[in-house]
């Protein structure tokens, strides 16, 4: 690629730290095998996990390295405005998922997000969503894998294919053997390893630039300038680093994109479905919101430090791209020892991201495609075996897509952006279906299909140069918003023309129809006030608002 510019000077002890991590991750997979006898054990950890475990896994599943590296890059490119992706673009949606939507997901005992659509609407809606989710997951797993390999190649000098195969083999082993428990337990471990890797870079980076105030002064002198230090100032127009108006930020990012991603993405929701009771399931995304509040400290600050200290950062290609902000700081600031921990943390985040995609895929493939449409009425052991084979298939296809991505890295980025826009019509269909009992099955299908087609068309028109936007981000705001509106309008037109579902079919699935028992299987200790999902959720949203004050 770009020569040896990014190569880290890893020594034997750094590799020892990395090796210890690999051994531990595999050990967790093997040790989790004892706890698997049924398909629910394999796909949903037997619905037995405590809230702090599922909560940290929930946030970790999103902490793929694309996220960490990408958010540090955004920090360097757009400045403090990047916090919008966390405080308005994630936390409110996570809290909404826990308080409002989780009772329907967990209470109805559905085994996946697409399965909710099967019960609430009909089989065509279900199949449409199951297939698009499955395809998206293996493609994104491949993108994750390719990104992992690129970093390994640049930092450690491993050949691309070695890195791809080693990364894939480890994820494959611990999910095939340990199922979702293996994935979730490793995600919790990875969460802490990722932080252990990022905190030293952040601390030394801040020391280097003279602390927070030194950083703020220095950023003011860069090409970002004063605008890079404020989250909301300058959003009255699009003349700010992000190129986004506050209306776009609040409704596009804060509502449609973020609610679409966090509330309907099964790779995330699956973590909550594996919780041991309703209270733990509802607290899962809310517990995850607390780390999400402070993660910008270890992604955006390193991004800004890199902007200030690395001369020429922001090149179109080569070693000085924004995406290399964190690797460049690691090279410049970390001595052997913490360097090994930091490399391990980056690797851990790649694995967490890929494992979330793979474990989401194997569940949807087995329960929602194979069991529902191909081979019904087999034994539970049969579906457990299918799940293991689906895992192998997902990883092998992931390796394939990683090699495709190697040839067309831009195209793969586009695909990922595209699927994020697909979530908007899905969210619209869900939210109307959950709160409007009259919405008919046919309306659900057409809302989802036409909403998706609208966002897809707008995206293709934009890429084809027919429609013009200020940035990719602005296109995704509009695409998501338009898809959302389309889904709502279609539902409003088709529903009165078609017959409703019977009330008893909607019990536990729709608001106001009964069948949701919030206290059903709660343990004595879960009733205490400080474990109330509503209270915890409101505190998280209030903190997100408060955090904006110093960077307004």
């Amino acid at each position: 690629m770009d020569g040896d510019g990014l190569r880290l000077n890893m020594n034997g002890l750094d590799y020892l730290i990395l090796a210890l991590y690999f051994v531990t991750v595999l050990g967790v997979g093997f040790a989790a095998r004892r706890a698997i006898r049924t398909s629910v054990d394999f796909f949903l950890s037997g619905r037995s996990l405590p809230a702090w475990v599922t909560g940290l896994a929930f946030v970790s599943a999103n902490l793929g390295a694309l996220e960490i590296i990408g958010m540090a890059a955004n920090g360097a490119q757009y400045g403090v405005m990047t916090v919008h992706y966390y405080w308005i673009g994630a936390v409110p949606a996570m809290v909404f998922l826990g308080i409002v939507m989780m009772p329907f997901y967990y209470g109805s005992k559905v085994r996946s997000v697409p399965e909710y659509l099967r019960l609430r609407f009909n089989r065509p809606t279900h199949l449409l969503n199951a297939l698009s989710f499955a395809v998206a997951q293996v493609l994104i797993a491949g993108v994750n894998l390719y990104a992992l390999a690129l970093v390994m190649q640049a930092l450690l000098g491993w050949p691309l294919w070695t890195a791809i195969v080693v990364g894939a083999a480890i994820v494959l082993a611990y999910i095939t053997i340990g199922g979702l428990s293996g994935a979730i337990y490793n995600e919790v471990l990875q969460f802490f390893v990722i932080l252990a890797g990022l905190i030293p870079v952040t601390v030394i980076g801040l020391v280097k630039v003279g602390g927070w105030n030194g950083l703020m002064d220095a950023v003011g002198d860069t090409k970002l300038g004063e605008a890079g230090l404020h989250a909301w100032q300058g959003t009255g127009s699009t003349a700010n680093p992000l190129g986004a108006h506050w209306i776009g930020i609040v409704f596009g990012l804060g509502f449609v994109l973020s609610f679409g991603y966090w509330t309907t993405n099964f790779a995330e929701v699956q973590r909550a479905l594996s919780a041991k009771n309703m209270s733990a399931a509802r607290r899962t995304p809310i517990i995850a919101a607390y780390p999400k509040l402070v993660i910008p400290l270890v992604t955006i600050i390193p991004g800004l430090v890199a902007l200030v200290t690395v001369q020429g950062l922001g090149a179109e290609s080569g070693d000085l791209q924004y995406n290399n902000a964190i690797p460049l700081l690691m090279r410049d600031l970390l001595p052997n020892g913490v360097l090994g921990v930091a490399v391990t943390g980056l690797l851990a985040s790649f694995m967490a991201g890929m494992a979330a995609n793979v474990s989401g895929f194997n569940t949807v493939f087995t329960y929602d495609i194979w069991q529902a449409y191909i081979r019904r009425d087999r034994s539970d052991e049969y579906y457990l075996r299918v799940g293991r084979w689906a895992t192998v298939a997902a990883v092998v296809i992931g390796i394939g897509t990683a090699f495709i991505a190697a040839g067309f890295s831009n195209i793969m980025n586009y695909i990922q952006a595209l699927f994020s826009v697909f979530n908007a019509p899905l969210f619209a269909t869900f939210i109307i279906g959950m709160f409007w009992k009259r919405m008919s099955a046919l309306a659900g299908f057409w809302s989802l299909l036409l909403g998706t087609l609208v966002s897809l068309s707008l995206y293709l028109l934009y890429k084809g140069g027919v429609v013009d936007f200020n940035s990719d981000l602005e296109e995704s705001f509009w695409g998501a918003g338009l898809a959302f509106v389309t889904a709502v309008v279609v539902a409003a037109i088709i529903t009165p023309l078609t017959s409703p579902k019977r009330d008893e079919e909607l019990r536990g699935l729709v608001y106001g129809m009964g069948g949701v028992d919030l206290k059903g299987d709660v343990l004595a200790g879960d009733a205490v006030w400080y474990r109330s999902p509503v209270l915890l959720g409101l505190i998280a949203v209030a903190l997100a608002a408060l955090f904006y004050i110093p960077v307004f």
Binding site: I17, T24, G46, P50, E115, L119, A196, V338, V341, G525
Partner: protein, 102 residues
């Protein structure tokens, strides 16, 4: 448990729910032990590196003895995890099996 609010039934889900009585999830170990163990090991390794850090390494990190501090922090974190598990062992996993297999 009150049954006045059963959600809608579905044959595929019911099949899986029925199987859950055989669940072996109760045999899952406690992840706190693994996290604690790994961080204690990392803490010891990195602290030792930090004690023997040369001037060049300290200068690279802007004069901060980062290995020493990070190592000690990881060691303390790992020990806290182990202590937490020792003081508050996991709930008896029976809670899952007491549900009626409705």
């Amino acid at each position: 448990m009150s049954n006045d609010g059963q959600p809608a039934q579905d044959p595929l889900i019911d099949e899986t729910q029925a199987e859950q009585r055989r669940s072996a999830a109760a045999r899952l170990f406690d992840i706190r032990r693994v996290i604690g163990g790994l961080f204690v090991a990392y803490g010891i390794i990195v602290t030792l590196i930090g004690i023997f850090d040369s001037r060049a390494e300290i200068d690279k990190a802007e004069g901060v003895r980062i290995n020493l501090w990070a190592g000690l922090a990881m060691l303390v974190f790992g020990l806290l995890m182990l202590l937490w598990q020792w003081l508050r062992p996991a709930d008896p996993p029976a809670s899952n099996e007491q549900q009626p297999g409705a």
